[in-house]
Each structure stands twice: as structure tokens, then as C-alpha cells.
């Protein structure tokens, strides 16, 4: 790291990153979407926990009961707000023409793109990591001691940190795909159904779990569970690997598009 930071390229990147972080901070959409992520994740987790509390027979008493995974029930909805954040962070540049001002300030496309995506990822992780722990506390607190989990339980911390990692990677994919498509509407039109509708349907259709497990959100979400989902036979770390591969592909696509196309 020190070698990178000391080089001239590193100095350019550091300045560009600081500009991109400021850009995110100075937009209202950042605050709205991230507030929605926190509210939806914690709120739905708490509601789910409250419902589960009075239904021990249907939940806590079942075999393979996974209080941690159930506590993160708000993730599916919260991730939509985070997808919006990632898409808007990049898409607004193209929609408003700000990208021309940005590229005259940072003409090296690779530096600009890397700085922007890093800023999105850093911001997303900074919000989702505390959100994950608050969600855990809210949901498990609501569930009641008879059937809930504690952070000290095996896999609980991994799943909670995993939630932040999962959400950050989805956000990064969203930002990179938008960089590829250069349009907010197009990006939302593809990502929202992919992450929210198609993934969910495929994952629960009998027999197609073998396909669904290679979708980024289905595979990645395995890390949220302490008891693995036997329909999605990919495993915790296998799921993360699949999500990482999708992320890498999206990043490559976004950065290559940015470098090749006229702005």
C-alpha cells in the first residue's frame, strides 16, 4: 500500500477519491437511499423478530432453525435502496453531464473510474457494517430469548459482517453495471428485477436451484445464514466466491467501457 500511495499514480488516485467521497456527501440522494437501507434492514428485522416471538412452534421448535438468517429478513428490501444508491452515484454523472466536468479534472479514465467505485464501496461498507450489527441486535432482541441467537454463537459474527460485505458487493456491482450502461434508467431496469424478482423466483422454484445458486444475490446471500440452505447448494464461502466473480466481471466491464467510449 505504501508503495502505491507514494507513487504519482497513488497521489492522483487519493485526490480523486477524496473528490468522489465529497461528491457523494453533497448529494441528497445519497442520504435518502442510505437512510432507507438502515431503516428497512433494522425495521423489517425487528418486525420479523416480533412476529417470530409469538410463534415458537413454527420457528424456534423447527429443525435447522436459523435465528440469525431470519433476523436479516429485511435484507431483500434494503438491498434495493442500496442498489439505487450505487446506480445513482454513477448514473447521475451521465444524466446531468457532470461526467464531462469530472473527466476534465481527472482525464485518466482508469483513475477516475477506480476512485468513483472505491468511494461507492467505502461509503456503502461504512453504512452497512454498523447497520448489520444494529439489525442483528434489533431482530434477536425482538425474537425473545427462547429462540434467538447471540453474537457469541457460532457463525453469528461471520453472518453479520457477511451482511455488510454482501450488501457492499451488490452495491459495487450496481455502480459498475451503471458505468457500463451509462444510464440510470437502464441500469435500474436490469438490476432491480435481477436482484429482487428473478433471483427470488428462481431460488424458490423447485429444481432450478442449481441455476439460481449462480446468481449474484442468491449465491451471496448464503453468507447471511448460519444454517445452510440445502436448496441452494453452494455453501457459505462458495456463495461468496460466486458473488466476488460477478463483482470482478462487473468492475472489468465498467472500467473497460469507461476507458474505451467517448465521454
Amino acid at each position: 500500500m505504501s508503495a502505491v500511495r507514494g507513487g504519482p499514480g497513488g497521489r492522483l488516485f487519493a485526490a480523486a477519491l477524496s473528490a468522489e467521497l465529497l461528491k457523494l456527501r453533497t448529494l441528497r440522494s445519497t442520504w435518502w437511499t442510505l437512510a432507507a437501507v438502515v431503516g428497512l434492514s433494522v425495521g423489517i428485522g425487528y418486525l420479523y423478530g416480533s412476529v417470530i416471538k409469538g410463534n415458537y412452534d413454527d420457528f424456534g421448535a423447527t429443525p435447522d432453525w436459523d435465528p440469525v438468517g431470519y433476523g436479516f429478513a429485511g435484507t431483500n428490501v434494503a438491498q434495493l435502496a442500496l442498489v439505487c444508491f450505487g446506480v445513482l452515484a454513477v448514473g447521475a454523472e451521465y444524466a446531468t453531464g457532470t461526467v464531462r466536468a469530472s473527466l476534465t479534472a481527472v482525464p485518466r479514465r482508469g483513475v477516475f473510474g477506480a476512485a468513483k467505485l472505491t468511494a461507492v464501496a467505502v461509503t456503502a461498507f461504512a453504512v452497512t457494517l454498523p447497520t448489520a450489527f444494529v439489525t442483528f441486535a434489533a431482530a434477536q432482541g425482538a425474537m425473545g430469548e427462547r429462540q434467538n441467537a447471540a453474537l457469541g454463537d457460532p457463525g453469528a459474527v461471520r453472518a453479520t459482517v457477511g451482511l455488510a460485505v454482501y450488501l457492499t458487493l451488490l452495491c459495487l456491482i450496481s455502480a459498475a453495471v451503471t458505468m457500463m450502461l451509462r444510464s440510470t434508467v437502464l441500469a435500474l431496469g436490469i438490476l432491480v428485477p435481477l436482484f429482487f424478482i428473478v433471483s427470488d423466483i428462481l431460488a424458490h422454484l423447485p429444481g432450478v436451484g442449481s441455476v439460481a445458486r449462480y446468481l449474484p444475490s442468491v449465491a451471496g446471500a448464503q453468507i447471511l445464514r448460519v444454517v445452510p440452505d440445502d436448496r441452494i447448494d453452494v455453501g457459505t464461502w462458495g456463495g461468496l466466491a460466486v458473488l466476488l466473480l460477478w463483482t470482478a466481471a462487473a468492475l472489468c466491464g465498467g472500467l473497460v467501457t469507461l476507458r474505451r467510449r467517448d465521454a
Partner: protein
């Protein structure tokens, strides 16, 4: 100093800029003239490396834009007034650009004062009039105190007072030894501001030289820049 040499850019099969060569010198305001669609904006975008040329090169101070380590300190550009996120305040927009070059916030305050934006710097850019957004674009161009300025139709949307202001500003910038390249399709305005002109049509160079010389050659001793321009560009359209 701006040097454009054999610059060519095609959009599909039609050339937007076609083997264009010209120079703009320091200490002078160079008018970059031509009808709509002649390739003025494309040339400026090529100079700023926003577009990639198919052939030739566009150099500023002997270097191509992508090679510059701190381009805002070398070149200031006003491309079009809408290159701002409407939800960000004018001051925040300038601060984000300043950060890329570690330009202090005090300089942001200076250019806000210089461009007469004091009263509106805290407002969201989307709520500013076209004239105010134009001033914001010029403020961004001046941030790095650059030796070269590229201004695409800077009088667009400005009120009469603003037009006089930008005219005076360009004269002052050139008097300080800077290179100023300003595109325009308003000949009466250009005649008041520029020292030399580069006239293009359909992406090709039609004429280049001192204003007085161009007028004399193409419109006669009693002619105007407008007459010379019309004669030149009607020829280019053939």
C-alpha cells in the same frame, strides 16, 4: 499555446472534424468560428480528451490532455453550462473539482467572487438561471488559474451585463499572457472580442489569421467580420 494538427474524428462515416490544423497563441483571444455542426464542440472535446481522435493530435502547451498530471492548473474549460448536477450547490460543485487537484477552499471562494456568484453559491445548481450556470462553468474553468482557456459559446444565456463582463474577462485573461480559445457563432460579438480567428465549416479549416487581415481578404477594406464569415462559410457549404 494550442496546436491542432491533422485532427480527424468521424461519427459513423461522416467526419465531424476533418484533417483540421490550427494554432492559438498566448496573449491573444482566438475566435473559433463556424456554423452549428461545423465541428467546433467536437474539436474542443478532442482537445480535452473527452473524445478520442481517429487521426492527428491536439496539444496544449505541447502535451496531450490525458498526459497532464494536473490539467485544471494548465487548462480551464467551459464546455456547456449543463455539466453540473442540479442537486449539488454551486459551491459544492466547485469544491469537488478543487479536491481533485488539492486546490484549497479559499480559491473556491475567490472564483465565486470573481464570477459574481457570491449571492447564489449556496443554492442548488438546478435552481440557477442559465446565465448563473454559465458563470459557474467559468468559475470552474478559472479554479486552477490556468494559462490556457477553452470556452465554448460562453455568452450563451448571459444578459447584456454578463456579456460585457465575459468580454472584459477574456480581454483581461489574454492581456495577462494566457491563451484564450473561444467558440462562437455570433459574429458581431466575436468582432468585439477576438484578436484572431479560426473559421471552420464541415469539420475543415476555412481560414485562419488576424481579424483585420481576414476581413480585408474576404470582405474588402470596408467590410465586417460578419461579411467575411458569411462569404467563407457559404463557400464551405458548397
Amino acid at each position: 499555446m494550442i496546436e491542432v494538427c491533422d485532427l480527424t474524428k468521424r461519427h459513423g462515416s461522416t467526419p465531424a472534424v476533418d484533417a483540421l490544423s490550427f494554432r492559438a497563441e498566448p496573449g491573444r483571444v482566438t475566435g473559433f468560428l463556424g456554423p452549428n455542426g461545423a465541428g467546433k464542440s467536437t474539436t474542443l472535446r478532442l482537445l480535452l480528451a473527452l473524445d478520442r481522435p481517429d487521426r492527428g493530435h491536439a496539444l496544449i502547451g505541447g502535451r496531450s490532455y490525458v498526459r497532464m498530471r494536473d490539467p485544471l492548473r494548465t487548462v480551464g474549460a467551459l464546455l456547456d453550462a449543463s455539466s453540473v448536477h442540479g442537486g449539488r450547490t454551486a459551491r459544492a460543485h466547485l469544491r469537488t473539482l478543487a479536491r481533485t487537484h488539492r486546490i484549497p477552499d479559499s480559491r473556491v471562494g475567490e472564483v465565486i467572487g470573481l464570477t459574481g456568484l457570491d449571492g447564489v453559491a449556496g443554492r442548488r445548481a438546478g435552481t440557477l438561471s442559465l446565465g448563473m450556470r454559465q458563470r459557474l462553468g467559468i468559475a470552474a474553468a478559472l479554479l486552477g488559474d490556468p494559462a490556457v482557456l477553452l470556452l465554448d459559446e460562453p455568452v450563451n444565456g448571459l444578459d447584456p451585463e454578463g456579456i460585457v463582463w465575459i468580454r472584459t474577462l477574456m480581454r483581461e485573461l489574454a492581456a495577462e499572457g494566457r491563451t484564450v480559445l473561444v467558440s462562437s457563432h455570433l459574429m458581431s460579438e466575436a468582432a468585439l472580442t477576438v484578436d484572431q480567428v479560426v473559421v471552420i465549416g464541415r469539420g475543415r479549416l476555412l481560414a485562419e489569421g488576424d481579424v483585420a487581415e481576414i476581413v480585408r481578404t474576404y470582405a474588402g477594406p470596408a467590410g465586417s467580420l460578419e461579411e467575411a464569415y458569411l462569404r467563407l462559410t457559404s463557400g464551405g457549404a458548397r
